[in-house]
């Protein structure tokens, strides 16, 4: 027998849907008494800090003024961004002659054009593109930045770099459009199906030789004014120093790390000594050593300029740091990989280059990027030994007579600049890590 209750069951409100904002707030901010209190305390804290920063940096700030006095006249409590704005060129380019700034910009644009194919899909031979960036781009950029008369070697290298840049770009365009490499494309253009045939290769070699000669003749008449390194400065100098440091650190770090793990006792001892020596002392002492002791190390009459001294020092300590990162990556490779490589008869360099390094580098990416970020941040130390890098420039704003005593705003701006660069780099490395990870664990 069934009993049917004549009473209506009470209505229950529908549970909040998974995506509702209210549910999210309740779950993440007010899920217990303690958390509720914490949320309100934090809200108050964020409100006070945010309001202070907002009114100082935005609403009360002065954006257009000619002197610091004028800033004060307009608003006494706010930031005086006008001073930073007036020094913008100095912060980015240092004392580089204003009419020659296009050279720095062109150099950067070349670098971007050179590197972009590395990120494009369907482009082949990315390793060679990366290698040419490291080995040829510096000559082009070095000539663009410093200028002056070219020796025969420099003429050759600049030509090679320009040819390489052209080929790279064409290769990238062809790659994106058709998914083939430039070589295949040209060979098929001439109606030859087989890329490895002798005829096709001859055509290619001839073509490159013609381009090379044409560019060589063109660049002989192309000279730019010489600009001494003392005029370099600002973010440009910071990027040059850390860029060279990064480019040198990876190969030398890999060599040092391999040396440290080597079976050859003498190689191991030297590598370990070098790494431990440079890792255990502060960066600033290495820089001091470079400026005080390198002149003594050099043969008489041979003078290294300060920039070169600093760059050598930066390369040395960064190679040591990178070596430890690489060693950490190598340690993640299980022994069976080495054994498998030996079993199929690979020698030491083949094992390392074909089996171990490709796997290890993938593990290392976050740490390598972390290293780059550290290097970029550490490059500010060169301002202590008297180079006008970005921090040196920021600090000299307060000594410029219209902006006398303007300390805080330039430093905040500099911190912001570094934050943007470093944060973007670390986010990108996180992305790469996820993209490259082939393991199935989540």
């Amino acid at each position: 027998m069934t009993i049917i209750k004549p009473v209506e069951s009470p209505t229950v409100t529908a549970p909040l849907s998974k995506n509702s904002a209210l549910r999210w707030v309740r779950k993440n901010l007010f899920n217990s008494v303690f958390n509720t209190v914490l949320t309100f305390v934090m809200l108050y804290f964020v409100y006070v800090a945010g309001k202070g920063m907002w009114s100082w940096g935005i609403t009360d700030a002065v954006w257009i003024a000619d002197t610091r006095r004028e800033c004060f006249a307009i608003s006494i409590d706010g930031a005086c961004w006008a001073g930073v704005y007036a020094w913008f060129d100095n912060i980015f380019y240092g004392r580089y002659p204003r009419e020659e700034l296009w050279r720095i910009n062109l150099g950067l644009v070349c670098l971007v054009i050179w590197m972009v194919p590395l990120w494009l899909p369907r482009v082949k031979a990315k390793i060679s593109i990366g290698m040419t960036t490291v080995f040829l781009y510096p000559f082009l950029a070095g000539y663009l930045f410093s200028g002056g008369a070219k020796g025969v070697f420099m003429q050759f290298m600049v030509t090679a770099a320009i040819v390489c840049l052209l080929v790279n770009t064409l290769h990238a365009i062809v790659g994106v459009c058709s998914g083939r490499s430039l070589l295949e494309f040209i060979v098929t253009l001439f109606g030859k199906k087989n890329a490895s045939s002798k005829r096709g290769r001859n055509i290619l070699v001839g073509l490159f030789a013609i381009i090379f000669v044409v560019i060589y003749i063109w660049q002989m008449n192309w000279t730019v004014e010489r600009i001494p390194w003392t005029k370099w400065g600002g973010l440009f100098l910071t990027l040059v120093i850390s860029g060279i440091g990064i480019a040198m650190a990876l190969p030398s770090g890999i060599l040092l790390a391999l040396g440290r793990r080597s079976n050859l006792t003498i190689v191991r001892v030297f590598s370990t000594t070098f790494i431990e020596l440079f890792r255990s002392v502060p960066v600033i002492t290495v820089l001091f050593m470079a400026t005080t002791m390198f002149p003594l190390f050099m043969p008489q009459g041979f003078v290294l300029n300060k920039l070169v001294q600093v760059i050598i020092a930066v390369c040395m300590f960064n190679a040591a740091y990178m070596a430890e990162t690489v060693r950490g990556g190598l340690q993640t490779i299980p022994k069976r990989q080495f054994e498998a490589a030996h079993t199929i008869g690979l020698g030491y360099w083949q094992t390392m280059g074909l089996i171990i390094m490709p796997q290890a580098l993938k593990h290392m990416i976050p740490n390598i990027v972390g290293n780059f970020i550290t290097l970029l941040k550490d490059t500010t130390l060169v301002s202590i030994i008297g180079l006008f890098d970005v921090l040196g420039m920021l600090r000299s704003i307060s000594k410029d007579s219209p902006w006398l005593g303007l300390h805080k705003e330039p430093l905040v701006f500099g911190a912001f600049l570094f934050f943007v660069i470093c944060f973007a780099m670390s986010k990108y490395s996180r992305h790469l890590e996820v993209k490259l990870s082939t393991s199935h664990k989540k």
Binding site: S280, M298, I384, F423
Partner: protein, 405 residues
């Protein structure tokens, strides 16, 4: 049959027995090592011969005898007494080393505590709290320490009020005062019988250790949990406190007093010291926070489930299950973070705190020359400290390995 065919073939292949000089592994290994050694020796010879020629040409002296020469300057902040024109360069080295160690040890303690705190906030289930902690970490990690130090120095510690309008950090008691000359603290002056209190404290600590060991043994035997925290706290406070009171409170505080234009008495920490301490702690705390977070997250989530299913409460779950497993992941990077704190304290040079680099590598080098000796002594100091710290790390790793089986 195919199998027998294969075995016949493999019999036919004989390994090459002949000795190939250039392709023998042992020969190669010796050859490579000799080549490396020769290259390094060549570079070393090149550098040393150049240096000796340069030194001769410039008429520079070498040797460590200058350490006994009186230095013509003095450091404004020092832990051992010194006088300009009397104290030697050797003494300057000791002062610099002590200053470096002093500020970095305090910064290590502060950054570790702050870092643990922020790391735990970062793991909070409260979205807002965890995001605020994340913002802290990202801001401090992604900006150069040098900019941070200069910023603290210029826009915080040089905007402090003058002596007359000092900020009272102790809330009206005028004990801890902050102004643009530095931080003024009361300093303890021990009386005659203070050593008795010290002994009482040591006795209390030993007693607590014994008590805890007994409590653990009794828990292992009977399964009953003996409360240890409150009795040990009581023991630690009551025993030394009682001795202190019985011996007639033999400790006086030297309180800073306004005398004329400045404070006298108490301990003074110059603004550069306070700046460096704050900046180093804030910067390295952000790294510590990430280490703590990563360490705790590295513990398998199954461990939480297992501990909860055993009926452990949140506090015991953390202290008995999670933290012990997270520590092996936290401690090694933490110790190398300590090392970088010590190394980064050398940035003191930017704000004029007299640490080893600024006193010895800059001022002494400008005054006395002897570049090679000064630079190598400074570097040797840092290497020595790093050696000690990596020794600590090795001891820790050994212990962990033993426990891990």
């Amino acid at each position: 049959m195919a199998v027998s065919d294969n075995s016949k073939k493999s019999e036919q292949i004989k390994p090459k027995e002949q000795f190939d000089f250039f392709h023998d592994e042992r020969v190669r290994s010796v050859l490579y090592q000799l080549l490396t050694a020769a290259a390094v020796a060549l570079v070393a010879w090149f550098l040393i011969s150049n240096t000796s020629k340069n030194l001769e040409a410039r008429g520079m002296h070498t040797g460590f005898s200058f350490l006994n020469v009186a230095a013509g300057f003095d450091s404004y902040f020092k832990l051992i007494p010194n006088e300009a024109g009397v104290g030697t360069y050797g003494r300057i080295f000791v002062i610099g080393a002590l200053n470096t160690l002093y500020v970095s040890l305090l910064a290590i303690v502060a950054s570790t505590i702050l870092g643990f705190f922020i790391g735990i906030l970062r793991l909070s289930s409260n979205w807002l709290v965890s995001k605020v902690a994340l913002a802290y970490v990202e801001i401090f990690r992604n900006t150069p320490l040098l900019i941070q130090i200069v910023f603290w120095y210029i826009s915080v510690f040089s905007l402090l009020p003058r002596v007359r309008n000092s900020i009272d950090l102790s809330g009206g008691l005028e004990l801890v005062l902050l102004n643009n000359r530095g931080l003024y603290l009361p300093w303890p002056v021990p009386g005659d019988s203070l050593w008795l209190t010290g002994i009482a404290l040591i006795v209390a600590i030993i007693a607590v250790c014994v008590f805890r060991r007994w409590a653990k043994a009794s828990q292992d035997k009977t399964g009953q949990i003996v409360p240890t925290i409150i009795p040990s706290c009581l023991l630690l406070i009551v025993l030394p406190g009682a001795v202190y009171l019985l011996t007639g409170m033999p400790l006086e505080w030297d309180v800073p007093k306004l005398a004329g234009l400045n404070f006298s008495g108490g301990a003074t920490l110059p603004p550069s010291f306070v700046t460096l301490l704050v900046a180093l702690s804030a910067y390295h705390a952000s790294y510590t926070a990430e280490m703590v977070r990563a360490g705790i997250l590295s513990v398998n989530s199954g461990q939480y489930d297992a501990a909860r299913s055993l009926g452990l409460k949140q506090g015991r779950l953390m202290s008995l299950v999670i933290i012990p497993q997270a520590m092996p992941a936290i401690v090694p990077p933490l110790i190398s973070n300590w090392m970088s704190t010590i190394k980064n304290s050398s940035l003191a040079i930017a704000i004029g705190y007299p640490d080893l680099v600024s006193l010895f590598m800059q001022t002494s080098l400008n005054q006395a020359g002897y570049a090679i000796e000064l630079v190598s002594m400074t570097m040797a100091f840092y290497m020595f400290v790093s050696l000690i710290i990596s020794g600590l790390l090795n001891i820790y790793n050994k212990r962990i390995q033993l426990v891990e089986r």
